[in-house]
């Protein structure tokens, strides 16, 4: 085995995957760098709810990226699959068992079928028409969940567990209170707290479950990016016409990509329900679709790490920013002279607390305008600049003005 490919990955990708695994496993520690009760403790992100969200939305964004990053088809209705996945998972928990495995499997199957139906229709058009069609389908699902499909979705209240549910497999062991989601008896909300050096680390079953699935999903995405199939999808993005001329029909490839990314979204939806067993139609609202677009673009569309990074950054900042209110700001800037302090606090308060969406919008605009490759491109540029400072420039460097024609760039996403 040594020297050959491990799990079908080359050396570089294996190292990359190992880093990702290490990072996900250590998240509860890494996101908790500040001592409990200290001034900076509010920047700690190591609580289960946030970590689960980061893993789940990471999966969602990775799936979205398989469609948008590789084929260039910008779907504005991906949240519909997330919502459908959530509903399917909750139904499984109502009817069969609180074990999350069947729920998640059903979520993936149902959202995959749903994506196949919507994709079959939407993919007949491309460009802006495709975006509008997916948006229309998602809005339609959202409105239907509120009106016609109320028996399935429980309308505005949202689908919840109740004691009268059949839950065929769990009936015998059920007590008088609502059961919790579990995996073969291990409850999702169980956590183990460890205190080291004044820092409290929470190791939560739910998070690790999500993390394992996220790593698997990420591994599948790497394989997909490196496969001939992934190459076909890139061909769709770079020149669909030429692809048709060479005798290839792009439709099956794009449809497969659409279904795969729909299943990723369904998986994310199922996991959301597995962490907290309720499902509401607002998960399908088009702003939710916009959110995953923002995550992917912010991190870097078409790259492997980008969407995960984007999802992590956005979910972390969302939680932290929303918590910062005027009194917190006051405690930070109390050393400033009074008049200046008021101005500084006023400016910061616009962007924190309730103003989180403003920060998001501004950041998003700046990234799209100045850094179309997202954070990943930013990091690459940064590391290149650092390296350039150290190494001698050679004549193949892009900065050589005498060199004609300009050296070719490497293909993006490699």
């Amino acid at each position: 085995m040594l020297g050959k490919k491990i799990l079908g990955l080359n050396k570089k990708d294996t190292r990359f995957l190992l880093i990702v695994i290490a990072l996900t496993l250590l998240t509860p520690v890494l996101l908790q760098p500040f001592a409990e009760g200290s001034e900076l403790a509010q920047f700690n992100g190591g609580y289960p709810d946030l970590m689960q969200k980061i893993a789940i939305f990471g999966i969602f964004a990775v799936g979205f990226n398989i469609l948008f990053g590789l084929t260039g088809y910008l779907s504005f209705g991906h949240a519909a699959f997330l919502g459908v996945g959530s509903y399917a998972a909750v139904w499984m928990m109502k009817l069969l068992t609180m074990n999350v495995i069947p729920a998640i499997l059903l979520a993936m199957v149902v959202s995959g079928l749903f994506a196949a139906a919507i994709g079959f229709v939407s993919l007949r058009r491309s460009g802006i028409y495709f975006s509008i069609l997916t948006l229309a389908f998602a809005q339609m699902s959202y409105k239907m969940a509120y009106s016609v499909l109320t028996p399935l979705t429980n309308g505005e209240t949202g689908l919840q567990l109740s004691l009268d549910d059949p839950r065929v497999l769990d009936r015998a062991i059920e007590g008088s209170s609502l059961p919790v989601t579990n995996i073969f008896g291990l409850a999702m909300n169980a956590s183990h707290k460890v205190e080291v050096l004044g820092r409290v680390f929470t190791f939560n079953v739910g998070y690790y479950f999500c993390a394992v699935i996220a790593v698997i999903a990420f591994y599948v995405a790497i394989r997909l990016f490196r496969s001939p199939f992934g190459m076909m999808l890139r061909a769709v993005k770079s020149n669909q016409q030429r692809m048709t001329y060479t005798g290839l029909d792009p439709k099956p490839y794009t449809l497969a990509a659409f279904v795969i990314s729909g299943m990723y979204a369904g998986l994310a939806g199922g996991l959301l329900a597995a962490m907290d067993p309720l499902a509401g139609a607002d998960r399908m609202l088009w702003t939710a679709s916009g959110e995953v677009v923002i995550m992917t673009i912010l991190g870097g569309a078409g790259t492997l790490m980008g969407p995960v990074l984007g999802a992590g950054v956005i979910k972390y900042l969302e939680n932290i920013f929303s918590k910062i209110n005027e009194s917190v700001l006051h405690s930070w800037f109390h050393w400033l002279p009074d008049g200046i302090e008021d101005v500084v606090i006023w400016v910061f308060a616009r962007f924190t607390g309730e103003g989180w969406h403003l920060t998001l919008g501004v950041t998003f605009m700046l990234v799209v305008t100045f850094l179309p490759g997202g954070l990943v491109e930013g990091l690459k540029r940064l590391s290149k600049r650092i390296r350039e400072g150290k190494t001698k420039r050679d004549k193949y460097d892009g900065s050589d003005p005498e060199h004609h024609p300009a050296p070719t760039k490497r293909v993006a996403g490699e």
């Binding site: 229309a136 409105k143 403003l358």
Partner: protein, 343 residues
Amino acid sequence: METILLQLLNGLDKGSAYALIALGLTLIFGTLGVVNFAHGAIFMIGAFCAVTLSRLLNLSFETVDPEKLDFLGNPAKIKTPYVEAWFGHDFGHALIDWAVPLAILFSIPIMIAVGFIMERGLIKHFYKRPHADQILVTFGLAIVLQEVIKYFYGANPISTPAPDAFKGSFDFGAMLGFDPNVIIYPYWRLVYFLFAAVVIGAVFSFLRFTTFGMVVRAGMADRETVGLLGINIDRRFTIMFGLAAAVAGSAGVMYAPILSPNYHMGMDFLVLCFVVVVVGGMGSLPGAVAAGFLLGILESFSSMNAVKSILPGIDQIIIYVVAIIILLTRPRGLMGKKGVMED
């Protein structure tokens, strides 16, 4: 018959709003080739222009009237708006009452300025970028504008009444010889429809009968050639962007009495208006207007009880269903031209 007529009328005002926003979207798309996701935000800013003007006119000072007592026995405080003090009671009161129509005059310069700033400051840099980038950056801008408005006006809808003269409804049925009290239609909605018709007519005749409009139409057909003829087409397109913003803004001003403005109304309308533009055909102005009215009226018909009893919930999704059917059977929309957005 009566119900059909009533639903037709009900569809007109919503259809008018769709048509006005879709008209602006299509103008921007046809001239600049930009898919503007921030257009709904412009509509919303227009509605808040009406709110702002009505608040400005209602600014008042308090005087203490020693003659009257309030229910606690203290001297009553009387609020007098400044405009009433300055211009006399009757004229001042009329000004306050007519705040919404007046806000159109107030909003036009604001909206044109907003349009210019948006185009010169941001969208200009995105002409050569892919459509996806344009969608994304204007989407970001829409979020920002929405949050700014939310900060200044709060998250709750603000009711902005129509002038007293247009309050209440009139009996349309009695006029046409049907039974009275069957077809009742609020005055303001009729005003809105007429206003929309005038604006649409004005935009079309501006494009058709003026030299400026002719140049713009030529630029829409072939930008490069017009540029080579020595005409500064970019500047004219910027002006068209301002005009489109003014159309959407005034549509928002007049809509304020129908739907109390809230910070997310722009986004709600935008999604529907994109559907309208696509149904009408990307780049076709008559298509956008026709599709706007068509979808508004269809939406209103599908909310009839007779229809709902056969197809429950159809009123919520009819627009999307129609859009999907049309896009699949007539890929260019109702009146779309060949070669527009066909990458």
